[in-house]
């Protein structure tokens, strides 16, 4: 087994294993930590596939941004896992089946097809190509997404400010 294949299997197991932990744990905190491990595994898989920029973006956006915000949410709403014990029939069997199916698909289909590289450092980086594409061909799409996000941001700010004002006026009435 080549080194690169070993690492590929290692990070695949890490990604899928952490995802299984997220499904089964009842503690939100453990789920978030497992999500961290899963996302790191995905970033490593990107790097192994030769997409170093995408790997780093994965870390900076999903771990540095989304996951930290998720943690904030979890921290404010945390309750002991015992408080929401509930049972859904066949839950465990479904949650075992789905990851197993994923592993099966990965082993049968994706593994032989994946263009594996021998050494990530030996290949020319994709930074320049990606950068050029982003600023030429795909620029309009990114601009549109940026505009939509701006609209969402202003909307959220507006809703937030009206809620605060309502709270204030209620406080005055009392």
């Amino acid at each position: 087994m080549s080194n690169i294949l070993f690492f590929f299997i290692f990070f695949s197991v890490q990604t899928i294993g952490s995802a299984v932990v997220i499904l089964f744990t009842r503690n939100v905190m453990y789920a978030v930590t497992a999500l961290l491990s899963s996302l790191l595994g995905v970033a490593a898989l990107f790097v192994l596939a030769g997409a170093d920029v995408l790997g780093v973006i994965q870390i900076i956006v999903y771990i540095g941004g989304v996951l930290v915000l998720t943690l904030f949410g979890v921290m404010y709403t945390y309750q002991s896992p015992k408080r929401y014990q509930e049972s859904i029939p066949h839950k465990k069997s479904v949650f075992i089946l789905i990851p197993l199916l994923f592993v099966l698909v990965l082993l049968v289909q994706a593994l032989p097809l994946l263009p594996m590289i021998d050494d990530p450092y030996q290949h020319a980086s994709k930074v320049e190509v990606t950068g050029m594409l982003w600023l030429t061909e795909y620029l309009p799409i990114f601009e549109w997404i940026g505009f939509l996000l701006l609209v969402v941001l202003i909307g959220a700010g507006w809703i937030g400010s009206t809620l605060v004002q309502e709270d204030k006026s209620k406080g005055e009435q009392v």
Partner: protein
């Protein structure tokens, strides 16, 4: 081919072991230095009893820490509590991998080096959060809360300050950024030095020394450097931005419940982070492994203090200059800590969002115009 691969791998492993040895020995000395600097700032003597001039004080402290009992507080989340120091130290130590320690000594010469470093800093935040949350302590959770809010906000001016350099150097690879400022590497030698006049980079590299540093070549970068320095202080949780662990309010913030070896690891990670951001500042702005002395006619100070490229002397000089400059920045960080009082939370946020962020955005625009001007 095999021998070549072996050599490359050998250099990478060498960079790893030198990096680790550098961090460990640096931590011992820098903690002693911190005590002495604080003492001299406050007109005291500092540690004097253990060894000559108290030199063995840190060693004694380390032995004490390693002997202590490993305590996990009641009600703490065992696994998260134990994992947090490992996450924090691993994140900081990984950052050293893409840092050029000498012209030819680098752990991982990846093309997205700067970007990778900035992303690694964000994993460090998660460690801080997990440490604070899993301790089952009010002070810890408050410290973690403040820490995350601070680091997430200060990442923006930090990244923008780095971006202004990246725009000018046109690469994310720290090794290339270092080589661009090196007097003996012919990289960039046919580009013009300033947008005006007919001085080229080749003339500048013939003089060498401070004239090939980014901070002299692009003089407006001094503003970016100041922003980077301030934001990096906040990223390291150093005073005057040490509100996540402010002793007088929160005992010691997110690491209140840690003791013994785990506390030692957290402490080590904090000082390693200081060194990491100082090294990054030196590579981005202050010439990296390049000497500060220029050639003045027959007195070839630059050539004498740079060694021959490809020879061990060049690597030794490069390592010496890089580490000396970084230690200078670390000393500045210490002086800051013992000079300025701690900021309030609202002052901290005001400084970040209303002062540093607009200035760093303007600096990015300045860099873009400078590049446009150079290319005309």
């Amino acid at each position: 081919m095999r021998i070549q691969m072996f050599c490359i791998n050998f250099v990478r492993m060498l960079a790893l072991s030198i990096g680790l040895a550098l961090i460990l020995s640096y931590a011992v000395f820098v903690i002693y230095a911190e005590r002495k600097v604080s003492a001299f700032v406050q007109d005291r003597l500092g540690p004097m009893e253990t060894g000559p001039y108290g030199l063995l004080q840190t060693v004694a402290d380390l032995i004490k820490l390693l002997q202590k009992e490993d305590i996990v507080p009641y009600g703490a989340h065992l696994w998260l509590f134990k994992a947090a120091p490992i996450i924090i130290f691993t994140a900081v130590f990984t950052g050293f991998a893409c840092m050029p320690l000498a012209p030819e000594l680098i752990g991982a010469p990846i093309n997205v080096g700067v970007f990778f470093l900035l992303s690694i800093v964000s994993i460090d935040v998660l460690g801080v959060f997990i440490a604070g949350w899993s301790s089952n302590n009010k002070f810890s959770i408050l410290g973690a809360l403040r820490g995350i809010a601070q680091i997430v906000s200060y990442e923006l001016p930090l990244t923008l300050a780095v971006l202004s350099v990246v725009l000018l150097s046109g690469t994310l690879n720290l090794e290339y950024i270092n080589f661009q400022q090196h007097a003996h590497v012919t990289l960039l030698s046919d580009t013009t030095y300033f947008p005006w006049g007919d001085w080229t980079m080749k003339d500048a590299k013939a003089i060498g020394g401070i004239f090939t540093w980014n901070i002299i070549r692009y003089p407006f970068l001094i503003v970016s450097m100041c922003i980077f320095f301030i934001a990096s202080l906040a990223e390291c949780n150093r005073a005057p931005f040490d509100i996540p662990e402010g002793e007088s309010e929160l005992v010691s913030g997110f690491h209140t419940e840690y003791s013994g070896f785990r506390f030692a690891i957290l402490f080590l990670a904090e000082y390693a982070m200081m060194l990491l951001v100082s090294l990054l500042l030196v590579v981005l702005f202050l010439g990296g492994t390049n000497t500060p002395f220029p050639n003045i006619g027959a007195v070839a100070l630059c050539d004498w203090t740079s060694g021959t490229l490809g020879h061990w002397s060049s690597n030794a000089w490069g390592f010496f200059w890089l580490v000396s400059k970084a230690f200078g920045i670390v000393f500045l960080q210490m002086m800051m800590r013992w000079t300025y009082p701690r900021l309030r939370v609202d002052q901290l946020m005001l400084l970040c969002w209303k002062v540093l962020l607009p200035i760093s955005l303007v600096m990015v625009l300045c860099s873009a115009y400078w590049v446009y001007w150079l290319k005309q």
